[in-house]
């Protein structure tokens, strides 16, 4: 088990390095930060001077090496735009994103799995047909449109829920949470629904497909032949076996919830890392963008690790694999 995790970690480091390289390379081309750093009154020599100072004239590998050495120390420099340390900015925005992503993931998982199981167990019923079709409408609408639509209906027309922001937050010292106040919770509803909708549909369809597949397996037939109760078969046997493949894909998907938050956070002015990223892209705030990408890569790596461990816990067959006999 330890070796398994160690190997995963080794792989993760490679992944992180690759991501670092890619993100770094990409950002060089996103635009010229100098133009946005200096105002209308600046002169050409100022541009040159600033480029020199930012090290933008150095060879590519020098810049990259500098970036990596700093990144390893958690040092991503100072935001060009907000002139504050990037790590601090990200840390202050992180709670918002994590609370949003976590809530959405929870909604997506709970509702997705429930509906998936429900529709798999009643493959022919009318409600299944309705749920399946509605879910498709959900994925056929771009996220931003759903967000704007929800704001229009629930904030502007009905005035039930806030249209933007996080509401009242409570400072717990190292974490500012919106989960402890009423306005914070109310503010969470619309963005969380918007963000979860896509994943929800995905998980639901996945669970349904897998469950249908599992229900056709021989061991389910044999479980029936053993006279087990419907409950035990559907939830004890079928569901557990369904979860094995679902865990991997869901894990990966949940990782992307955090990143998908970009659009949702923009629409709802949710003060998380996603909107920080988009604001930074607009002014080519390279340090923030690079740190954000590294952060996403990190989340991916962590989630992957958790998924693997979960997998390991759920599927006994893997324990042999993990402990040495290869594929």
């Amino acid at each position: 088990m330890l070796a398994f995790i160690l190997r995963r970690l080794a792989q993760s480091i490679v992944v992180m390095l690759v991501v670092a390289l890619i993100s770094f390379m990409l950002f060089r081309y996103v635009g010229d930060p100098v133009a946005s750093l200096l105002g209308q009154d600046s002169r050409l020599e100022d541009f040159e001077a600033l480029r020199e100072r930012l090290g933008l004239n150095d060879p590519f590998y020098v810049q990259f090496f500098r970036f990596i050495t700093d990144a390893v120390q958690g040092e991503f420099g100072i935001s060009y735009r907000l002139q504050q340390p990037v790590s601090e900015l990200i840390m202050s925005r992180l709670p918002a994103t994590i609370e949003l992503a976590f809530t959405s993931a929870l909604i997506a998982l709970v509702v997705g799995v429930t509906l998936g199981v429900f529709t798999a167990l009643r493959p022919k019923s009318l409600s299944t047909a309705i749920i399946m079709t509605l879910s498709l409408v959900g994925v056929s609408l771009p996220t931003f449109l759903i967000g704007i639509g929800l704001i229009y209906i629930f904030a502007v027309e009905l005035q039930w829920l806030p249209s933007f922001g996080r509401g009242q937050v409570v400072d717990l010292g190292w974490w500012r949470t919106g989960l402890l106040t009423e306005s914070g919770l109310r503010s969470l509803i619309l963005p969380a629904i918007t963000l979860s909708l896509f994943q929800l549909t995905l998980i639901m369809r996945l669970v349904r497909a897998e469950m249908l597949e599992v229900l056709r397996q021989d061991y389910i037939r044999f479980a029936r032949a053993r006279g087990l109760s419907k409950r035990a078969i559907n939830f004890g046997h079928a569901l557990k076996n369904t979860m094995v493949p679902v865990i991997t894909i869901t894990g990966l998907q949940l990782g992307s919830v955090i990143a998908f938050a970009i659009v949702t956070e923009t629409v709802f002015q949710w003060p998380g890392v996603g909107s920080l990223f988009i604001n930074s892209v607009q002014v080519v705030d390279v340090p923030v963008m690079a740190a954000y990408l590294m952060f996403i890569a990190f989340v991916f790596v962590v989630i992957n690790l958790i998924v693997d461990i979960l997998y390991y816990a759920v599927d006994p067959r893997l324990r042999v694999h993990a402990s040495g006999s290869g594929k």
């Binding site: 950002f27 996103v30 771009p142 704007i148 497909a209």
Partner: protein, 318 residues
């Protein structure tokens, strides 16, 4: 599913016409039996046809700026503008006919969606075949790369690729290239699904004896992959492709929303929605509503077809 029980029958009968066989096949049978699928197919067919025929059936040509009159702007649906021109679905802020922009826009969206999906398919299939057939380190590397691609949201990847393209292509050519960049960006952010599926299927097919038989004859591995393995892994690819197409169309819309789509003078459905949503509060609902409905209908129809195809091609469900 049921195999012929009687060994005598297949030898004697004369094969019916190809068309009839297709119509009579199980896939089409399940098609005929599902009214939802028939509706979806009809909707998709009409939308695609309308998009293809846009230059002939659209009342105006919104892609020709010279033919536009600003004073036609913001005409409500089913009414005449100040200039006396009639607009069935109204006109937008540039005086473009919304119906025509939708027709032309679907054309762009479909073109981008289909090309991006084909591109993703090409990459995914070749990498998947290679990974599945060669195995070993090659397989590990390809699959790790696919993992990375899958873990990064498509939108992010596409944004970054767009960024690079902007950096590489000289500014004066960027507009002409925008649509191709978009295709590459969306394609590159969607290939991993194909690669995974194809790899899995290839690993199964590779084990089968017909591949061994070909190897014994000394058939070149590339030929084996293309002629033997590929046709047999296409069924799941087809299913992902339909759903991938719907996703690509929506992704294009989202990219346009984030401001990195096609030029506004040649708007796609996504760009139309981005433009239209500015007028959400000001009362000109039709500028947003009609393109949005079209996008939803298109994505829904394609998704439903994909759903059906998945079931129809799954022998266990027949």
């Amino acid at each position: 599913m049921s195999t012929p029980q009687n060994p005598a029958t297949p030898v004697a009968t004369k094969p019916p016409s190809r068309l009839y066989r297709m119509w009579d096949s199980d896939v089409f049978f399940s098609f005929r039996r599902s009214p939802v699928t028939i509706v979806a197919a009809t909707v998709a067919f009409v939308l695609v046809l309308a998009a293809i025929l846009a230059p002939w059936i659209a009342p105006y040509n919104p892609f020709d700026p010279a033919s536009l009159n600003l004073m036609d702007g913001f005409t409500a649906p089913n009414s005449n503008s100040m200039m006396g021109n009639y607009f069935l679905l109204g006109s937008d802020h540039q005086g473009r006919d919304v119906l025509s922009t939708i027709l032309y826009g679907s054309r762009v969206s479909l073109f981008v969606g289909v090309s991006a999906t084909l591109f993703a398919m090409a990459i995914g299939i070749s990498l998947g075949l290679t990974a599945g057939y060669v195995g070993g380190t090659t397989d590990s590397i390809i699959m790790r790369v696919a993992d990375i691609q899958l873990s990064f949201p498509a939108i992010l990847i596409a944004l970054l690729i767009f960024g690079i393209a902007r950096g590489i292509i000289p500014p004066s050519q960027q507009e002409g290239m925008a649509i191709w960049v978009l295709i590459v960006a969306i394609g590159l952010s969607n290939w991993a699904q194909f690669a995974r599926t194809v790899r899995g299927a290839t690993m199964v097919e590779r084990q089968k004896d017909y591949v061994s038989a070909a190897r014994i004859m000394g058939v070149h591995p590339l030929v084996i992959l293309v002629r033997h393995v590929l046709p047999n892994v296409m069924a799941p690819v087809l299913v992902i492709a339909t759903i991938g197409l719907a996703l690509a169309i929506i992704e294009e819309a989202t990219l346009s929303f984030l401001g990195v789509g096609v030029p506004p003078t040649q708007p796609s459905l996504g760009t139309l929605i981005r433009i239209g949503q500015q007028f959400l509060f000001s009362g000109e609902w039709w500028i947003l509503f009609f393109p949005a409905i079209t996008l939803v209908l298109l994505a829904l129809a394609v998704n439903l077809l994909g759903d059906w195809l998945r079931d129809a091609l799954n022998p266990r469900l027949r």
